[in-house]
C-alpha cells in the first residue's frame, strides 16, 4: 500500500542530498539507520539515556518539575500531531486530560497497577475522543475551535453535577503509587541516589512519554501520517484520491485524545488531585501555545514547548513579584506571556522554533546553485 508514495519521497531526499551536502550532513547520513523504525528506536534509546542522566543529576525539586514536563510533553505531542499534521484545532485537550485524570483517580484506589490504569485512561479518553471527533469531523477551523471550546467549558460541569462520585468542586484525590523495591534498587545501583516519590513519578512519566513519542513518530511516518498530511494540505484532492475525510479526521482526533488521556493519567498521579479548576480553558490554550511555539507538527517542538510550560511560569512570576506585583497578579503573568507568544509566533515566525530553524538549515545545506554571490560571501 505504501509503495506508490515511498519512491517519490526517497527520490526527493536523494536529489536533495545529491547537491553537495555539508560535511556534517554527510557524516550524519552515514551513521543513520536506513529503516524508519530503527531510526526512531535509536532516538528513543538516546532519549532514555538523557532522561536518566538529567533525573539523576538534579534534585527532588527539579525532578518534580520534570515529572510535570513529562505529562505536558505527552499532551502537547498529541495536539501537535492533530493540529500540525491533520490541520484540526482543538481547545478541548485540557478537558480530555481531565477525563484521563479522573479515570486514574477512580481506578487507582481499586489496587490496579499504575501502567494498566494509564492504558485504561488513554483508552477511555480515546472513546470520548471518538465522540468529539465524530461531531468535529464535519467541522473546520473556527467551527471546530468553537465546538471544542464549548466541550472544554462544559465538561467540568459534569464533575460538579455528579459530586458524589467525582468530588465536586474540591476534586477527586488521586492516590500516588509508591515506587517498587526493584526500582529503588536499580536507582541506587546506578547513581547511589535515594529514590524520592518525585523521581519515581518523573521516571514513569518520561518512560510513558518516550513510548508515546515512539508510537506517534512511527504513525506520522507511516501511510496514515501521509494521508493526514494530504487531508491537511488539500482535502478536495485527498477526497478525489479516495481518502474518506471524516474517517481520517476521527482517527486523528482519537489518537490525539488518547495522548491527552495518557497525559491526564500521569497528571493525576503527579498532582495527586483531579479537580475542575485544574482543567480550565487556559490549560487548553497553554497546550496550544506549546504546540505553536515548538512548531506545528513537530514532536521535538512538543518537547521544547512543554519545557516552556514548566519553566516559564516560575521565572516570570519571580520577575513580577520583584517588580512589585502581588502574588495573585504575578501568577497571571504566565498566561499573559502565553497569549503574547501565540500572537507573536503566528505573526513573525509561523513555523515555530523547529520550523524556523529547519528552514534556515535547509536554506544553508541545499547550496543555492543560482546564487553565486552568496557562495563567495560565505567562503
Amino acid at each position: 500500500m505504501a509503495a506508490p508514495v515511498r519512491p517519490t519521497e526517497q527520490a526527493g531526499t536523494a536529489s536533495r542530498s545529491g547537491r553537495e551536502p555539508g560535511r556534517w550532513a554527510g557524516l550524519a547520513a552515514r551513521f543513520r539507520p536506513k529503516a524508519t523504525f530503527a531510526r526512531h528506536a535509536a532516538l528513543a534509546l538516546l532519549a532514555l539515556v538523557v532522561v536518566v542522566l538529567v533525573l539523576e543529576l538534579t534534585g527532588p525539586f527539579r525532578n518534580s518539575q520534570f515529572a510535570t514536563m513529562s505529562y505536558y510533553a505527552i499532551a502537547v505531542a498529541g495536539l501537535t500531531v492533530l493540529t500540525g499534521l491533520n490541520g484540526q484545532i482543538s481547545l478541548g485537550h485540557g478537558a480530555l486530560m481531565a477525563v484521563g485524570a479522573y479515570t486514574a483517580g477512580l481506578l487507582l484506589p481499586a489496587d490496579i497497577p499504575l501502567l494498566v490504569v494509564l492504558v485504561i485512561a488513554a483508552g477511555i479518553t480515546a472513546l470520548v475522543g471518538v465522540l468529539v471527533g465524530a461531531a468535529a469531523a464535519r467541522l473546520k477551523g473556527p467551527y471546530l475551535a468553537g465546538a471544542t471550546l464549548a466541550f472544554a467549558v462544559a465538561l467540568p460541569g459534569l464533575a460538579i453535577h455528579f459530586d458524589e462520585a467525582l468530588g465536586g468542586e474540591q476534586g477527586l484525590p488521586v492516590p500516588s503509587p509508591r515506587a517498587p523495591d526493584w526500582f529503588a534498587d536499580a536507582v541506587y545501583f546506578l547513581s547511589a541516589n535515594e529514590t524520592s516519590s518525585a523521581k519515581y513519578l518523573a521516571y514513569v512519566g518520561w518512560v510513558v512519554a518516550i513510548v508515546a513519542f515512539l508510537l506517534l513518530a512511527n504513525l506520522t511516518a507511516s501511510r496514515i501520517g501521509r494521508i493526514w498530511k494530504a487531508v491537511r494540505d488539500d482535502e478536495v484532492a485527498a477526497e478525489l484520491a479516495g481518502v474518506r475525510l471524516s474517517r481520517v479526521r476521527v482517527l486523528a482526533f482519537t489518537v490525539s485524545a488518547a495522548c491527552a488521556g495518557l497525559a491526564g493519567g500521569v497528571l493525576g498521579v503527579v498532582v495527586r488531585l483531579a479537580a475542575p479548576t485544574g482543567f480550565t480553558i487556559v490549560l487548553s490554550i497553554s497546550l496550544l501555545t506549546a504546540v505553536v511555539l515548538g512548531g506545528l507538527g513537530s514532536l521535538l517542538g512538543a518537547v521544547l514547548g512543554s519545557a516552556l510550560l514548566v519553566f516559564l511560569p516560575p521565572a516570570v512570576t519571580n520577575l513580577g513579584t520583584s517588580a512589585g506585583l502581588t502574588d495573585v497578579q504575578a501568577a497571571q503573568l504566565a498566561p499573559f506571556v502565553y497569549g503574547a507568544v501565540l500572537i507573536l509566533v503566528i505573526l513573525l515566525a509561523p513555523g515555530g522554533v523547529v520550523g524556523t530553524v529547519r528552514a534556515r538549515w535547509r536554506a544553508r545545506t541545499t547550496a543555492p546553485a543560482g546564487a553565486p554571490e552568496e557562495r563567495t560571501g560565505r567562503s
Binding site: P142, A145, G146, L149, V153, P350
Partner: protein
C-alpha cells in the same frame, strides 16, 4: 405555570444579551471570516473600565458610554495591529491569534483590576413587577437590557441599509477585491467593522454584568453561548444571530430552571452539536455552493 412564564422571561432577558454577543461575532465573521474568540475578553476588559467609571461617578449610564467608546477603540486597534497582519487565507492562524488575544487580555484584566469577584451595579431596579400579589420575573433592568439591545440592533440595520458607509462596508465584506477596484477603502471599512463589533460586544458585557458579579473570566460561558447562538443562526446572518441568541437564552433558562445550572454549558454543547449535525449551515443562512 407562573414558574414557567418567569423562566421564559428570564431566558428572553438573557437571550437579548446572547443575541448582542452573537451579533458581534457575526459582524466580524461576515467582514473578515474570523471568529473572534477574544470578543469575550475584550468585553470583560471594557466592562472593568466601565466599573471604574461607575464607582467614581456613580452613574451607570456614563459607565455604559465609556464601555462602548473603549470597545470601539479596542476593536479598531485589535484589527489594525494584530488581525490584519495574519493574512487573508490563514484560517488556523487567525483562530490562534484571537485565542492568544483572549488569554492575554484576560490575564491583563486580572493584573490591572484584580482577580476577585466584584459586584457591578444594575441600571435600574432588580425587583420584578407585581400586580395583585403575583410577581413576575420582568424587572426594570431587564427592560433596559432588552431596550438597549433593540436600539443597537435597529441602529446597525439603519447603518447597513440606509447609509453610504454601510453600503461600502457591505461591499468590502462581500468582495474585497471588487470593492477596492471601485474605490472603496476596504482596509478602513474592515477596521470600522471590527470597531462596531467590539462596541456591540462591550454592550453585551456591561448588560450581562449589570446587577451581578464581575471577574476576569466571567465572559467565558458567554463566549460559548454567543458562539452557539451565532452558529444556530447561521454565523452569516445578523437576523439569525438575534433569533439564535433569544432561543439560546430560553433553552438555557429552561435547563437552569428544571435540570440544574451546572449542566448549562453541557446543554449549550448539546445544542451546538445538534445544529452542526442536522443543519450545519444554521437555521437562516442560505446554502452556499462549495468552493474548490
Amino acid at each position: 405555570m407562573l414558574q414557567f412564564v418567569n423562566t421564559l422571561l428570564t431566558g428572553l432577558g438573557q437571550g437579548a444579551v446572547y443575541a448582542a454577543f452573537a451579533l458581534a461575532l457575526v459582524l466580524i465573521w461576515r467582514s473578515t471570516r474570523v471568529v473572534n474568540f477574544a470578543q469575550g475578553a475584550m468585553a470583560a476588559f471594557t466592562t472593568y473600565l466601565a466599573l471604574l467609571v461607575v464607582e467614581s461617578t456613580g452613574s451607570w449610564w456614563v459607565g455604559l458610554l465609556v464601555a462602548l467608546a473603549s470597545g470601539l477603540v479596542l476593536g479598531a486597534g485589535v484589527e489594525r495591529v494584530v488581525v490584519r497582519r495574519v493574512g487573508p487565507h490563514n484560517e488556523l492562524g487567525a483562530v490562534i491569534v484571537t485565542l492568544g488575544l483572549f488569554v492575554a487580555l484576560q490575564a491583563l484584566a486580572s493584573i490591572l483590576f484584580g482577580a476577585q469577584f466584584r459586584s457591578f451595579p444594575a441600571p435600574a431596579g432588580l425587583e420584578g413587577f407585581s400586580r395583585g400579589g403575583v410577581t413576575i420575573a420582568l424587572t426594570p433592568s431587564m427592560l433596559i437590557t432588552v431596550g438597549a439591545v433593540a436600539v443597537v440592533l435597529l441602529g446597525l440595520v439603519a447603518l447597513f441599509r440606509f447609509t453610504d458607509v454601510g453600503l461600502r462596508m457591505r461591499a468590502s465584506a462581500f468582495d474585497g477585491e471588487v470593492a477596492r477596484l471601485l474605490g472603496v477603502p476596504v482596509g478602513r471599512m474592515l477596521t470600522l467593522g471590527w470597531a462596531l463589533a467590539a462596541l456591540v460586544g462591550s454592550l453585551a458585557g456591561v448588560l450581562i454584568a449589570g446587577g451581578s458579579l464581575v471577574w476576569p473570566a466571567y465572559m467565558d460561558t458567554v463566549i460559548v453561548n454567543g458562539f452557539v447562538a451565532a452558529v444556530l443562526g447561521g454565523l452569516d446572518s445578523p437576523g439569525g444571530a438575534v433569533v439564535g441568541g433569544l432561543a439560546m437564552g430560553v433553552i438555557l433558562a429552561l435547563v437552569t430552571g428544571y435540570v440544574g445550572s451546572d449542566l448549562v454549558p453541557l446543554a449549550a454543547l448539546a445544542v451546538l452539536v445538534a445544529v452542526l449535525l442536522v443543519r450545519p449551515q444554521g437555521l437562516f443562512a442560505r446554502t452556499a455552493a462549495r468552493r474548490v
